[in-house]
């Protein structure tokens, strides 16, 4: 064995390597059996590809065996006892009561209660209605003036980019006048309802929280098949993928209430050039879809975070004119200053279009 001075607690007991390998094999095998249903659940919602196929080909028979001998029921009961729902999607479900736990939900002025609005994607026009004309119909109505009693409700939804944005929103607004519900979810998107269904989550947010403003930043994980809650799947690369994705955008917008103002923050350029090209296409879709919705604005952040050629850049001038790092080391997320700059861009829209009072800012 090694020098005993290196690891003072060692030499408790020794065994042969064959016995050690056998113990390791039994440990991993049993653990696989115990965890197979959960692992299968996660693997089935992972992005398409060789890894998913390989994982499922191993996990499916093990999970079926676990079910056949009744072990799956026992492990599910244990997980439930520890507060985990074994049947919930791998990305989890939005539990608003948990999100709002310990917080006092600000009351809404009674006149703010309005019916929900339905949005259709452009390739599926409603036959009985003309397309909204921004010249004729007032797209923008002012936001209500918040008070300490009736605080403005802002919900921030989307993927990990929205998580950083939510933190920045909380830093920006005065908590005495604005309540920020920051519910961004890591590794989520609009494409995979089987992993995490943002449309369903948006419905819950609308019903329970009824936000005045919904800030959306999503899409960076959507380079994959679109899976609807019904199970209908449109694989990545299919000619219908764009229509399916637009339908998901429309469903998300449809899950908001009519009185909600929507700020959809576009995707930024990222270090991966291929993804950047894709993000431009997504941004065009988001912007086009928002034309259909009253009080909805697309915030284009591309140029703020791009070099003169429109490509990714990591550094730029901050609000104080100093050169600062705007992006995180992964080439996709933002630094604290970067997120603060996105909030500034979103605020410009809220102030210029919807008369958001400056009093709400810290």
């Amino acid at each position: 064995m090694a020098d005993p001075t290196l690891s003072p607690e060692k030499n408790i007991a020794s065994t042969s390597w064959l016995r050690a390998c056998l113990a390791l094999f039994i440990c991993l095998g049993l653990w696989l059996l115990l965890s197979a249903p959960r692992l299968e659940h996660s693997a089935s919602a992972s992005p398409d590809g060789l890894r998913r196929t390989a994982a499922l080909s191993i996990l499916r028979p093990v999970a079926r065996f676990s079910e056949a001998i009744g072990l799956a029921d026992a492990t599910a009961a244990i997980q439930t006892a520890f507060g985990k729902d074994p049947d919930e999607p791998p990305g989890g479900e939005l539990d608003l009561e948990e999100e709002l736990a310990g917080e006092e939900l600000p009351p809404l002025p009674p006149q703010e209660i309005r019916p929900p609005v339905k949005i259709q994607p452009p390739d599926q026009p409603r036959p009985d209605e003309k397309k909204a004309d921004p010249q004729r119909s007032p797209r923008d109505t002012p936001l209500r003036r918040p008070s300490e009693r009736y605080r403005l409700r802002v919900a921030v939804v989307g993927d990990s980019l929205a998580q950083g944005l939510g933190d920045a929103m909380r830093r920006t607004f005065r908590s005495s006048l604005v309540h920020v519900l920051d519910v961004g979810r890591l590794a989520t998107g609009l494409a995979r309802a089987d992993y995490f269904d943002w449309v369903d989550a948006m419905g819950k947010i609308s019903r329970r929280y009824d936000p005045d403003v919904v800030v959306v930043m999503v899409g960076s994980n959507d380079k994959q098949s679109v899976v609807f809650p019904s199970g209908r799947t449109v694989v990545s690369g299919d000619p219908d993928w764009g229509a399916a994705y637009r339908q998901r955008i429309a469903d998300l917008l449809g899950a908001t209430k009519q009185r909600a103002h929507i700020v959809w923050v576009g995707l930024p350029p990222v270090r991966d050039r291929g993804k950047s090209r894709l993000f431009r296409i997504y941004n065009d879709m988001y912007e086009a879809m928002l034309q259909e919705r009253r009080d909805a604005r697309f915030v284009d952040i591309w140029d703020t975070f791009a070099d003169s050629d429109g490509n990714y850049r990591a550094y730029g001038r901050g609000p104080d004119g100093k050169v600062v790092l705007l992006r995180a080391g992964d080439g996709a997320h933002f630094s604290v200053t970067g997120y603060d700059m996105i909030v500034d861009l979103a605020l410009q829209v809220m102030q210029n279009r919807w008369d958001l009072t400056r009093k709400v800012l810290r």
Partner: protein, 455 residues
């Protein structure tokens, strides 16, 4: 181990594949540091008299350090220069490049330096190319330490590992303990209180902020020592011994004591390859204070290029220099047998200084650290994030540091693991599987990467 050379080639190749998993494009860097260190070692070893030997050492260490300086500090230097020149109306003098830090570079660079310096000091003879490659790339320590010295690991490659005697009980104890610390303790506290509070300190109550600071002390300890436990455990399963890296740091009675218990392999590296060459404590008292401060400042900078890490290092440097001053004035040594109340006071004060310094370590900027500190006293309202679970885990994790101080408790835990090690493979495998299932069930979804992967 009848085919030792083949085993070394296989293990080196496996370690390089492991490293390539993060970024295949940076494998050349590990190879380049290895080649530079070996050529430097051969040069130093062949150089006489001492002046030429010293020149060879300086040049070799400088060359080994170059990649680390480039990857870790270029961004900081270029932005600082751009700001400075911007004040005079000039453009950025250096291109603003976002350089991604290769995982593990700080660790294998320090190991390579220790190898060259030990040869300069004639404590070690140059190793073979294969031995050195395996020493620097050996996968259990590659990405986040511990910083193993060449003299500790390379001789183990030379002597036969005995595959008939694997300390499964101890290795399993380390691996499961490490997993529990990372997946359950660190991830829970990070997501429940630390991350939200540090993202928006002024949005939470003073009590939330206070417990977020305590919780971060536990998070960084559980995260880093958890990784080290797993690394040492895996190395033990392969028959190798790694140095101990943590020894209940939050029961330290002074900052000097803390650094004997926290990231021990970095502390001794800084002591042996920086503090002592600077003159250590065998010099004038003014010079000793300077040596302490410089060592800790550079220790801070090793963690990252930024003012927050420099302030973190400075707090520890000033704290240790103050302790040295007090001891030199009063003549009191740390080994003095104090009563329990005095010891409790010393532990309490040291823990709070260390926790205060962690604020700067965790914060993205000095401004954010200041927000956290000011929120400690300005947001007097009822807590939002401080739940019974958060408080229980923070206090439980602190209490766990004292387990080693209770001999009967420590003995019964050791006896339990000894019994585990002596049990049948079926029993070991079953207990292990249940433990693994419990850890993955208790931990939150989506565990973040180890914090020290960034360094």
């Amino acid at each position: 181990m009848p085919y030792r050379a083949a085993w070394k080639i296989f293990m080196t190749a496996a370690s390089y594949v492991f490293y390539a998993w993060w970024d295949p494009g940076l494998v050349w860097l590990l190879a380049a540091v290895t080649v530079t260190a070996q050529l430097g070692a051969i040069w130093v070893n062949a150089s006489e008299p001492s002046t030429r030997r010293r020149t060879a050492l300086s040049a070799s260490v400088g060359l080994v350090l170059l990649p680390l300086l480039w990857f870790k500090y270029y961004g900081f230097i270029s932005v600082t220069a751009a700001d400075l020149f911007g004040r005079w109306g000039a453009g950025a003098p250096l291109p603003l490049l976002q350089i991604v830090l290769p995982v593990g570079i700080s660790f294998y660079t320090f190991m390579a330096i220790s190898y060259v310096v030990d040869i300069y000091r004639k404590e070690l003879a140059p190793a073979g190319w294969l031995d050195l490659s395996l020493y620097l790339s050996f996968f259990p320590h590659l990405v986040a330490g511990p910083i193993v010295r060449a003299g500790e690991l390379i001789p183990q490659f030379a002597t036969a590992r005995d595959p008939a005697r694997i300390d499964v009980g101890h290795a399993a104890r380390l691996i499961f303990r490490g997993l529990f610390k990372k997946v359950v303790v660190s991830s829970f506290l990070a997501t429940q209180i630390v991350d939200p509070v540090f993202a928006d300190p002024s949005g939470y109550s003073s009590l939330d902020v206070l417990f977020a600071i305590y919780a971060y002390s536990i998070v960084i300890y559980s995260d880093f020592s958890g990784y080290t436990d797993i690394a040492i455990g895996v190395a033990e399963l392969l028959g190798f011994g790694f140095p101990h890296n943590f020894d209940c740091p939050y029961i330290a009675r002074s900052l000097q004591d803390f650094w004997r218990r926290w990231h021990i392999t970095l502390s001794r590296w800084l002591r042996d390859y920086l503090y002592i060459p600077l003159g250590g404590s065998r010099t004038t008292s003014e010079r000793v204070y300077f040596n302490i401060l410089l060592t800790m400042l550079l220790g801070g900078l090793w963690h990252g290029a930024g003012w927050t890490f420099m302030i973190w290092g400075a707090i520890h440097g000033v704290g240790q220099a103050t302790g040295h001053f007090r001891r030199s004035r009063t003549g009191r040594t740390e080994k003095r047998a104090d009563g329990p109340l005095v010891r409790a006071r010393q532990i309490f004060i040291t823990f709070h200084i260390v926790s205060f310094a962690w604020i700067f370590f965790r914060a993205d900027s000095v401004g954010q650290a200041w927000d956290v500190i000011s929120s400690l006293v300005t947001n007097l309202r009822s807590p939002e994030l401080l739940t019974v679970w958060v408080a229980a885990i923070v206090l439980g994790a602190i209490a766990a540091q004292f387990v080693g101080s209770v001999p009967t408790l420590a003995a019964s835990i050791s006896a339990g693991w000894k019994a585990f090690g002596a049990s049948s493979p079926l029993a070991q495998g079953t207990v292990g599987a249940v433990a693994l299932f419990a850890i993955t069930t208790l931990g939150p979804e989506g565990v973040a990467p180890f914090i020290y992967f960034r360094f």
